[in-house]
């Protein structure tokens, strides 16, 4: 009977923490990418009037 077999409901928990760490790293990269360095910003601003 399916009622009497053990089901570990936290089986995916370990994988969840790995996923969390991966996404935290990716998130830091994304935020670093978004807050672009000043140099890049000014050169882009120079480029803008031309386009």
């Amino acid at each position: 009977m399916e009622y009497y077999s053990y089901v570990n409901i936290f089986e995916t928990k370990g994988l969840a923490y790995i996923l969390l760490i991966c996404f935290l790293v990716l998130g830091i990269l994304l935020i670093k990418y978004l807050s672009a360095p000043e140099k890049k910003d000014s050169s882009a601003a120079e480029r803008k009037p031309r386009t």
Partner: protein
């Protein structure tokens, strides 16, 4: 007695002013009017049949698909896309970022009209709409219902948005004292409004919690409320970007020089926030996917459709936003905003219509009448929006 005479005098002069303002301005035979007027007339004819012959006469609703396009598009999607109002209010009034102040009024107006019209469209879908006051007046409070919560929060939030927008109306009608009083209410209204928004945005998702056996497992999870809330943030931000770029073309004569220039910076800021929110949303989706052990569904047609939504209209627009912010490409931001909006529309349609009763043999497709009525609602909203922005100082004149 003297007071009364003054009051009636005031009222009369205001009515005169109001009638004056009702008249159209400029030429009325524009391409938009040429399309919208026949649509609205056709929509009204359809609604006549809907209210005399019943819902079945104009819609494709069935016993298996009780929620159709009017709920799935107008209400579910309209509410998500109107999320920009509470996000911007949070940024400007709670976080006090003055940079975004010049878009507050127009965003709040958009939110107010979206709520009035899209949750107003709910009335069209109700079978017995004359009982709509029942959950409000208290003769039968169904506290146990998610919909009870949602309907109350819609109502309260509409009032709150009206209070937030009311100083502009008072300014237009030259009621200086009232305007000052109403401006004082803004912070309180904003704080209540954000709270109500968090709850009803997630509440709209919570409506599907009990439909567990009917929604495809790739879309169903107990976290639907959280997903609806997070997606309403970037849906709202994308909508502000999208609407803003249209408004700045269409109503460019109403917008001041300084605001025109600062608009690029505002769009970049919003896009940055949207990129981060979408990234968080994508993480939530991945986490729920993994936690629910949904790998077995991926290699099916439903799985591919799910990937179209999640990769094509969440992850890709997220990266487009990030790329565009870094390289200051405003065109890319607009495309990304349109894609993100489409992604949210797709998500709501999937949960409400497409992956709902996914095993059903007779699928639901909206009838042409349902689409016309939806277009009618959108057009009427744009009409009212246009009427207001051309008369009240909604856009910043600076």
């Amino acid at each position: 007695m003297n007071n009364a005479a003054v009051f009636t005098g005031e009222l009369r002069s205001f009515l005169k002013f109001f009638l004056q303002e009702l008249k159209p301005r400029g030429k009325w035979l524009t391409p938009f009017n040429v399309i919208s007027i026949p649509t609205i007339i056709l929509g009204l004819i359809i609604l006549y049949f809907r209210f005399t012959e019943g819902l079945g006469s104009v819609t494709n609703l069935s016993q298996q698909f009780p929620f159709g396009f009017w709920i799935g598009f107008d209400v579910m999607t309209g509410v998500a896309l109107a999320g920009g109002a509470y996000v911007i209010c949070f940024v400007v009034y709670v976080m006090r970022l003055e940079k975004y102040h010049c878009i507050v009024k127009v965003t709040v107006l958009n939110g107010l009209l979206a709520y009035v019209f899209y949750s107003g469209a709910l009335v069209l879908d109700l079978g017995r709409p004359w009982h709509i006051i029942n959950p409000i007046i208290g003769n039968s409070f169904g506290y146990n219902s998610v919909l009870f919560l949602v309907s109350w929060h819609f109502l309260l939030y509409m009032i709150v948005l009206f209070v937030e927008f009311s100083p502009t109306i008072a300014e237009w009608a030259h009621w200086e004292k009232l305007r000052k009083f109403l401006t004082g209410l803004t912070l309180g209204a904003v704080i209540i409004g954000i709270t109500l928004s968090i709850l009803h945005q997630s509440g709209v998702g919570a409506m599907f919690l009990m439909a567990k056996p009917k929604i495809h497992p790739l879309w169903y999870s107990e976290y639907i409320p959280l997903l609806y809330f997070v997606s309403s943030i970037f849906a709202g931000l994308s909508m502000i970007i999208f609407e803003g770029s249209i408004s700045h073309k269409v109503f460019s004569n109403l917008i001041g020089e300084k605001t025109h220039h600062s608009h690029d910076e505002i769009v970049l800021g919003l896009a940055k926030a949207a990129a981060i929110t979408m990234f968080v949303y994508y993480f939530f989706l991945a986490f729920i996917f993994m936690h629910g052990d949904k790998w077995k569904f991926i290699n099916t047609p439903w799985g591919y459709w799910y990937l179209v939504e999640v990769i094509g209209f969440v992850l890709i627009p997220c990266f487009m936003f990030a790329y565009a912010v870094r390289n200051r490409r405003l065109g890319v931001i607009r495309v990304a905003a349109a894609m993100a909006i489409f992604g949210v529309v797709l998500n709501r349609q999937n949960i409400c219509l497409i992956a709902f009763n996914w095993y059903a043999e007779n699928r639901y497709y909206p009838s042409w009448q349902e689409i016309v009525v939806t277009l009618m609602v959108v057009f009427v909203e744009i009409w009212v929006f246009r009427w207001i922005v051309t008369r009240m100082s909604v856009f910043s004149k600076e």
